[in-house]
Amino acid sequence: MTLLSRLFLYFVLLLAAFYALAPMWVMLSTSFKTLDEIREGSLIAAPHAPTFAPWLKAWGTACSGVRCDGLKPFFLNSLVMTIPSVLISTLVGALNGYALTHWRFRGSDALFTMLLVGCFIPFQVVLLPMARTLGAIGLSDSVFGLIFVHVVYGLAFTTLFFRNYYLGVPGELIKAARVDGAGFFVIFRRILMPISGPIFMVCVIWQFTQIWNDFLFGVVFAGADSQPVTVALNNLVRTSTGVKEYNVDMAAAIIAGLPTLFVYIVAGKYFVRGLTAGAVKG
């Protein structure tokens, strides 16, 4: 490749990187500006006199719907909802994947195919019956209802992840352990668990991003006080009393995105590696 075409290559790649970063830059700089500066200054300029006021307001006092105590309570809702949902669905998915690969029985492949359908349905097709069901078992308008829904509809994905991963574990290993008298759970704990690190990372990151970022289940099933942060953010941006405060909107959007960005920056490497390996294998 000539030097010129190589330079061109780097130019295009940097341009694309600039395009990917620009919205985040604008969000960040807007969130530190005063409203006057937003009205008079330039969209992409750095703030002249950075102010934390929009962040404090987005976190503690901005109005989202009828409540005016910022994103904080809803951020906590999201945490309380996401952590148990991720852990439960991942653990059950690991056991499912293990049973489906190393303890096959008649119909276990058909069972897997059947579960897989759950990955592809548009959730709109289960919303109405689920709303009634949550009401009937007393879980509507609560964080517990959301945990329940996220676990139920996360299982297809977590089972798929672990099943594909455990397919690569040699059956001889399991057989040898069984000859030695190890049972179902002992083999899982002693042999499968210690080698599950990479897929555990993929599964946890996937589930965390999916559940934290969910909007549909949150807006349909949560009550005013159990809303996740995504729903609250959407309400906050739409609740306008008088002047539209773009700086507060941007600070709120960044707050709502921080946990997944953090997870992604810290552990994203493992996620992409594992996910692409799995997805490309098909």
């Binding site: 019956p129 909007f215 549909l216 995504t230 941007m250 490309v280 098909g282």
Partner: protein, 293 residues
């Protein structure tokens, strides 16, 4: 000989049974209930009185439903095509032994971590006709520049494409890049010995061998497009008016804010059929190609 203790004979089935039950009830059972609802008189409350195809007639007579279907076709096609083209180009360029590849890759990918609500909120501000992109280009000297797609009923759906591609192109790039890394380097060397140029090698050898990756990417992007609800809600709210409605919003509003359960259920069934119409032929073609390989 393995002597299976009796507990191990039923333990795997016991472990799987809650998931099996959940799938039977909350996936298959609920789909059947939704289909049943779409044939009833249900309005504000579920009602078991048979209505035949009335709800579907109502749905098909509704202009708003057709607007939303048309928007989904526009958004889905452009979103999938642009995400794939941008993703593939970036992957091919990153595959040329680029310095700082890991860093660039992380930058292209980070939008994927964000919620569509966050992305929508950000782009709503960027595309704001008074204060956003339009004004900055005007400040740069093109004083007659206008960019009002966000509030233009004919153009609003394209802003959803812009934000959607921004969020998902990096993901397509990651999948393509993983596929490119899996291509046998011997074949490429052989082609180079035969005097094939780099573009020819990509066009004739490498890209055709990425077939399974194209399949995965299409499947995932199509799925995101058909489910698209949060992005449209945050960016345009379906507006101006109902001009950027998509079926997911139609379903939500008829079911939960307008008290038309039957019509909502019918539109959900149509969404399921659309996904099946896309997925089933794709999976069938892929399964057949897999057997031929």
């Amino acid at each position: 000989m393995i002597s299976t203790p009796s507990a191990d004979r039923w333990l795997p089935k016991l472990v799987l049974s809650p998931t099996l039950a959940a799938s039977l009830i909350f996936v298959y059972g609920f789909i059947l209930i939704t289909i049943a609802l779409s044939f009833t008189e249900s309005r504000l409350l579920p009602n078991s009185e048979w209505a035949g195809l009335e709800r579907y007639e109502q749905l098909f007579d509704n202009d708003r439903f057709w607007t939303s279907a048309q928007n989904l076709a526009i958004f889905g096609t452009l979103f999938i095509v642009f995400s794939m083209v941008v993703g593939l180009l970036l992957a091919v360029m990153l595959d040329q032994k680029i310095r700082g590849e890991g860093f660039l890759r992380a930058i292209y990918l980070y939008p994927m971590a964000l919620s569509f609500i966050v992305t929508g909120t950000a782009w709503k501000w960027l595309l704001n006709p008074g204060l956003g992109l339009e004004r900055i280009v005007q400040q740069w000297g093109w004083t007659s520049f206008t960019f009002d797609w966000l509030v233009n009923p004919d153009k609003a759906i394209y802003t959803v494409v812009i934000a959607g591609v921004w969020q998902s192109a990096g993901f397509a790039m990651a999948l393509f890049l993983a596929g490119l890394r899996g291509v046998d380097s011997e074949i490429i060397k052989a082609a180079q010995v035969d005097g094939a140029s780099l573009p020819t090698i990509y066009r004739r050898i490498i890209i055709p061998s990425l077939r399974p990756v194209f399949f995965s990417v299409t499947l995932i992007l199509a799925h995101i497009a058909i489910k698209s609800f949060d992005l449209v809600m945050a960016l345009t709210g379906g507006g101006p008016g109902t001009s950027s409605d998509v079926p997911a919003i139609f379903m939500y509003q008829f079911s939960f804010t307008r008290g038309q359960l039957g019509v909502g259920a019918a539109s959900a069934v149509m969404m399921l059929m659309t996904i099946m119409a896309v997925m089933v032929p794709l999976m069938y073609a892929e399964a057949r190609a897999g057997r031929d390989r």
